[in-house]
Amino acid sequence: MTTLPMIDTDIHPAIEAHLDMPAMLPNDQLPSFEGDRIIQYREALREAMSEEMRHDKRVFLLGEEVAQYNGAYKISQGMLDEFGAKRIIDTPISENGFAGMAIAAAMSGLRPIVEFMSWSFSFVAADPILNNAPKMLYMSGGQFGCPIVFRGNDGAGGQLASTHSWCVEALYANVPGLKMAIPSNPYDAKGLLKTAIRDPDPVFFMESERMLGDKAHVPEEEYYIPFGQARLAREGDAVTLVSFGRPVHFCMEAAERLAAEGIEVDVLDMRTIRPLDIESIIERVKITNKVLVVDQSWPFASIASEVITQICERCFDWLDMAPARLNTADVPTPYAKGLEYDYLPNPERIVEAVKNMID
């Protein structure tokens, strides 16, 4: 009998003893969110991957144009030079094939990071990423884990029209066995991606083409952001806005405009969808008694639907009115600039929704 050298043979039930997870700190013990080391969102992602690859040779990156081209969106720029072609791997345009291949590598004890140029292209890999990665541990009775990260651009880019503008979070978050992170800023992008790479379960990591150039402070020191730990991005008393990913920015802009009219709202950035930090939502709902979930997926069976259901289950009596949701318009993503803007849960729509809840 031979045993695999790379994965803990005792992944169950002794996982805690073997898990190479760094300390996960609460928000108030993490490095400061504010500071003057300003880098782009894409650089934060690159730093996270590079640091983890230096730390652990099991980690590698593969995807379309990640190596010689330096990344279709320059996220992996320079990584081929540092890590070489055996760890930064260009793939053919065949997501089904390379996602499945990477999953088997994860089952074998490696730690693949799979870059989808866009999550819109992940559907041709739906079978491996949904049928294999999140179910392997269960189907094998605890024998084979799947420590893998799938990451890429999610949501409307800029006039990319219907097939290239998918928000996959509501579709994929439905599946047990996977975890999902949706960072809204460079600080979170780095801290969450480092945690995702260390996590022994499959992590679906959603970025946004529209945020890759966003600049903000990212600490010099190493840090990991725990999954299931939301950040209160803005504190108010009128309404709690619950959001994640790019729409957090729409919420922050709406909050500014509302503040100018004397209305102060909360903005709660969830950071991860699965796990969902429902306790932080409840805590704020008990203060504001009104909640609006701002979600860039379509309304039917959306993340907002789930969040609102959990709110009703957990703190119904604290609500002064029905919880509300603001999703993208329930149509395929349009191309025309103005139509695309109207389609999104944009600041104007958020302001209007909040005012409807206050009047």
């Binding site: 695999l4 169950h12 039930p13 898990l19 053919p92 499945g100 590598a105 024998q143």
Partner: protein, 372 residues
């Protein structure tokens, strides 16, 4: 005698391939032939009892019987090392047994019991055996093909990047129906581009469920052209004669390992039962099935052994009787193994089960897998 002499290494159509195989070490010994006979008969007997248990409703779901194809898994696995990873489709009982899973663990899994290889969570189509490097039976046609490439990729990565392990080959088994899937072509292309030492073994039983091969795939009598079109070393092998199979396949495996290149094998075989237990088999005649039963792989090997005086009729009877007892013991074991406790429903979902992963469930770690 020629059947036990190794064939010359298959003609390469792979520009990167350079044969460095010495055929001496590949010679078939009488002990190997006897062991293959035992394994093939074990699978045949195991499947007979599987069908009985299915008809008694002790086994549920979809259940695909391997009878007729025994030489395929036994002969190919014999040509690999014990720590070469393999992956297969849903017709997987034979591969599990040939790889060394106990009949007890295999049958208990189908009975949905805690002593099954997946603690009763996988069933007939999902045989996993980590200690024996079996990375699953997989239920979606051809989904295991990219996985097979990934297994070989991972072992190569460990050796080249991490300086660990050794040169390995992975085997990815698929049926002829699976070659029509896109995943198959993507896996071949990736493996060829990245020099991945995976061997795609088409267990070609002539049917994609109920659709005959000439009706489901183009160029059906020349499947190796699929591999060749990607520059992959490709051979066709008669999968009903295990000695011939081994003689052809062993140098092929050695070459893929040595050159770190993929391979493609059209392994001609036949299944005696329907696609699954619920198949009335109206798409083929009894005459066709009988014609193949006349070429039965176990009967062929037995006749070779008898002819060469390597086994006696009495010894064969003893072997059959021992196997019957062995499988009967596995049936008893499966019957008596406990059903999973209700709490097992929520285990093995996450390796790191944090809170708030589900609105309705609290996940925990499960009991230790019986194989580990």
């Amino acid at each position: 005698m020629s059947k036990r002499m190794p064939a010359t290494a298959p003609q390469s159509n792979d520009s990167k391939a350079v044969s460095s195989v010495t055929n001496k070490s590949n010679e078939i010994t009488p002990a190997m032939m006897l062991e293959w006979l035992r394994q093939m008969q074990l699978i045949r007997e195991f499947e007979n009892r599987t069908m009985q248990a299915y008809q008694q409703a002790k086994i549920g779901g979809f259940c695909h019987i391997y009878s007729g194809q025994e030489a395929c898994c036994v002969g190919t696995i014999a040509a690999t090392n014990d720590d070469d990873p393999i992956v297969t489709a849903y017709r997987d009982h034979g591969h599990a047994l040939a790889r060394g899973m106990t009949p007890e663990a295999c049958m208990a899994e189908m009975f949905g019991k805690v002593d099954g290889c997946a603690k009763g969570k996988g069933g007939s189509m999902h045989m996993f055996d980590k200690p024996n490097w079996l990375f699953g039976g997989h239920g979606i046609v051809s989904a295991q093909t990219p996985l097979g490439a990934g297994l070989a990729f991972a072992e190569k990565y460990k050796l080249e990047v991490m300086g660990e392990g050794k040169k390995k080959v992975s085997l990815a088994y698929l049926g002829d129906g699976a070659i029509d899937q896109g995943a198959f072509h993507e896996a071949l292309n990736f493996s060829a581009v990245h020099d991945v030492p995976v061997i795609f073994i088409i267990e070609n039983n002539g049917y994609s469920m109920g659709t005959a091969i000439s009706r489901h795939t183009a160029n059906a009598d020349n499947l190796i052209s699929r591999g060749q079109s990607y520059g992959i070393n490709s051979i066709e092998i008669d999968g009903l004669d295990i000695c011939h199979l081994y003689n052809e396949f062993k140098p092929f495996v050695d070459q893929c390992r040595e050159n770190s290149r993929p391979g493609f094998v059209d392994l001609k075989t036949y299944r005696y039962q329907g696609h699954s237990m619920s198949d009335p088999q109206k798409y083929r005649t009894k005459d066709e099935v009988d014609a193949f039963k006349d070429k039965d792989s176990i009967a062929k090997l037995l006749s070779d052994l008898l002819g060469d005086g390597l086994i006696t009729e009495a010894a064969w009877k003893d072997m059959q009787s021992e196997i019957k007892d062995q499988v009967r013991a596995a049936m008893d074991f499966a019957e008596n193994s406990p059903i999973p406790e209700a709490g097992e429903l929520y285990t093995d979902v996450y390796a790191n089960p944090e809170k708030n992963l589900s609105p309705t469930a609290t996940y925990t770690h499960g009991t230790k897998n019986p194989l580990m």
